[in-house]
């Protein structure tokens, strides 16, 4: 589940202008890094141009899925692989757009050329959101709930084992109390007489 690139573009019908770009081309060879970057920007521009405003779009391109969210002329693009859940991708794009608007306000509307300065937020976003749980709260909640459910299943199993042990303990204790009931009144009087007679036979030699 990998994000390869996140882009923010300004698209208003004509050629889109890149406002922020962050790519992770570390897994390509040395000679392929630049071409990969160019490829990403080109595809990003094409897709952004074709996305109507306030619409979401997902395009499959070779082994990447490109998710694009156009909101009032500001477009956010994400290059992800197949396993990244679509919903999380769009919530991530939403977040990026919100953050961009918060930090840059409306100044992006007047930009005419591609922006060259990197945007640090995007960089950390790229690394942070490799795990879809970070981007999508729903995904996170679902995952936490599943883990909790597993833990609870284990708990119930151990509680059942505890119940069995308690059952055996209760049986043993009831046996104990029953047998101690017998010993409570001491030995019967006949046994007493027998004991005394035995001691009589023995005691004269001692005396």
């Amino acid at each position: 589940m990998k994000i390869t690139a996140i882009l923010v573009l300004k698209c208003d019908g004509s050629d889109p202008i890149i406002l922020a770009n962050e790519t992770d081309v570390s897994h390509f060879g040395y000679f392929q890094k630049n071409p990969a970057k160019e490829f990403i920007t080109f595809v990003g521009r094409t897709v952004a141009k074709r996305t109507p405003p306030s619409q979401r779009q997902s395009v499959e391109h070779e082994e990447y899925k490109v998710h694009c969210y156009n909101r009032n002329g500001l477009c956010a693009l994400g290059f992800m692989d197949d396993h990244y859940p679509v919903r999380s991708a769009f919530s991530l794009l939403n977040k990026v757009l919100d953050e961009y608007q918060k930090s840059f306000g409306e100044s992006w509307r007047t930009v005419q050329a591609d922006a060259s300065q990197p945007w640090p937020y995007l960089k950390e976003a790229l690394t942070k959101f490799q795990d879809p749980a970070e981007a999508d709260k729903l995904f996170k909640i679902q995952r936490d709930l599943d883990e909790t459910k597993i833990i609870l299943h284990k708990t119930i199993d151990s509680v059942l084992a505890r119940g069995e042990k308690l059952d055996s303990l209760v049986e043993k204790s009831s046996d104990l109390s029953a047998s101690s009931q017998e010993c409570r009144w001491g030995p019967p009087p006949s046994v007493l007489v027998g004991f005394t007679s035995m001691l009589c036979i023995r005691s004269p030699p001692i005396d």
């Binding site: 619409q55 979401r56 679509v86 459910k149 119930i156 209760v170 204790s173 409570r184 007493l192 001691l199």
Partner: protein, 365 residues
């Protein structure tokens, strides 16, 4: 009707009737022929009036018979619907057929209603136009009243069948909720979804526990249930927000755009919907997971409380054993004392025995 009467109290006059009808038919057809030739002749007008009266009458009869037939068919369908509604069970519910039948019967009843109203209008116009005997008017009014009454009884039966069906559905829903708690995801309004959880919370805190551990578990359960409730309410708020979102993006289907854009947008809307649907699905999953979790906690609480009771029993048994063993120890101590102080008793017993031996020897020797 009176087929089996022993004394036949009727006279079969069908033959006369047939003759009369043939005569009238001939006269009507002949008057029609005359009508084409002479426009304003008295006999022609009289025949015309007669024919119109007859035609009106026959028209009335035709309509009335059609309505009566329709009412009969509707009542038959109603009987079938009643049988279907009665035999609904929890699992084998012929909802589709029942719905179809209800719609068909409703349409029939409305059509019959309008037909009866038309018939009554016709009857009134007939009465006003004069030219016919009072018997006919009374006959037509009684026919119309009869039809109205039958239609009213049919509608009343229909209403009763519908109420019975809704009651059956309610009973089934209650029974279904008793047996399956987490499967109820089909409620449309958020309040229905919150109510089962509230009911469940109500009976969550009911376990009568005596051990402190059990009470502690109970407290935990109440806290967790409250947490679940808050989470669910948050989820519902999120859902409402999402529904608000779905309404806004699915609106832009502008008609003045070019065809290509329109096509694109039509493709977009399903994508938006699928996106929203996937979000809704995820929320529902989360909610069902939370329900399952609450179930698991409930079972856990039950088991722990039972085991608490077992622990109490063990404790009592051990105390009993302790008391018994202490009693046994006391007895043994007494016995020990008895044994340790026995020598003096023994000496006395020996003296008594020797005395007896002496007396015995005296007697024998």
């Amino acid at each position: 009707m009176y087929v089996k009467s022993g004394q036949s109290s009727y006279r079969d006059r069908t033959q006369e009737f047939i003759n009369v009808t043939e005569r009238l038919k001939k006269s009507v057809s002949s008057s029609g022929v005359q009508q084409n030739v002479a426009t304003s002749s008295n006999s022609g007008s009289k025949f015309d009036a007669q024919r119109s009266a007859v035609s009106i009458q026959s028209e009335f009869n035709k309509r009335a018979s059609k309505i009566g037939y329709g009412i009969h068919g509707t009542s038959q369908k109603l009987a079938k619907l009643a049988k279907l509604a009665k035999r609904t069970s929890v699992f084998d519910d012929p909802t589709v057929e029942i719905q179809e039948l209800t719609t068909v019967i409703k349409q029939d009843i409305t059509a019959l209603n309008s037909a009866v109203v038309d018939l009554q209008l016709l009857c009134n116009s007939q009465n006003e136009s004069g030219n016919i005997s009072s018997d006919t008017t009374s006959h037509s009014t009684t026919v119309v009243d009869n039809l109205k009454n039958r239609l009213m009884s049919a509608t009343k039966e229909f209403k009763e069948v519908l109420t019975m069906r809704t009651e059956n559905l309610k009973v089934h829903e209650n029974r279904r909720q008793l047996f399956s708690s987490s499967g109820s995801k089909d409620s449309a309004s958020p309040f229905v979804r919150q109510r089962p959880l509230a009911a469940r919370d109500g009976c969550k805190c009911l376990k009568p526990l005596s051990s402190p551990m059990g009470q502690w578990v109970n407290v935990i359960i109440t806290i967790i249930s409250q947490v679940c409730k808050t989470i669910l309410s948050l989820i519902l708020i999120l859902k409402k927000l999402m529904d608000g979102e779905t309404s806004s993006p699915s609106q832009p289907l502008l008609q003045q755009q070019q065809q290509q854009e329109q096509q694109q947008q039509q493709q977009m809307v399903p994508l938006q919907d699928s996106y929203m649907q996937s979000r809704a699905e995820a929320l529902q999953n989360v909610e069902s997971t939370i329900h399952e979790l609450s179930n698991i906690f409930q079972q856990l609480a039950t088991m722990v409380s039972e085991q608490g009771e077992i622990a109490i029993r063990i404790d009592e048994n051990m105390e009993d054993t302790l008391a018994n063993v202490e009693g046994a120890q006391g007895q043994l101590l007494k016995y020990l004392n008895g044994i340790s102080s026995n020598r003096w008793l023994m000496i006395k017993i020996f003296f008594v025995l020797i005395v007896f031996l002496m007396i015995f020897l005296f007697f024998v020797a």
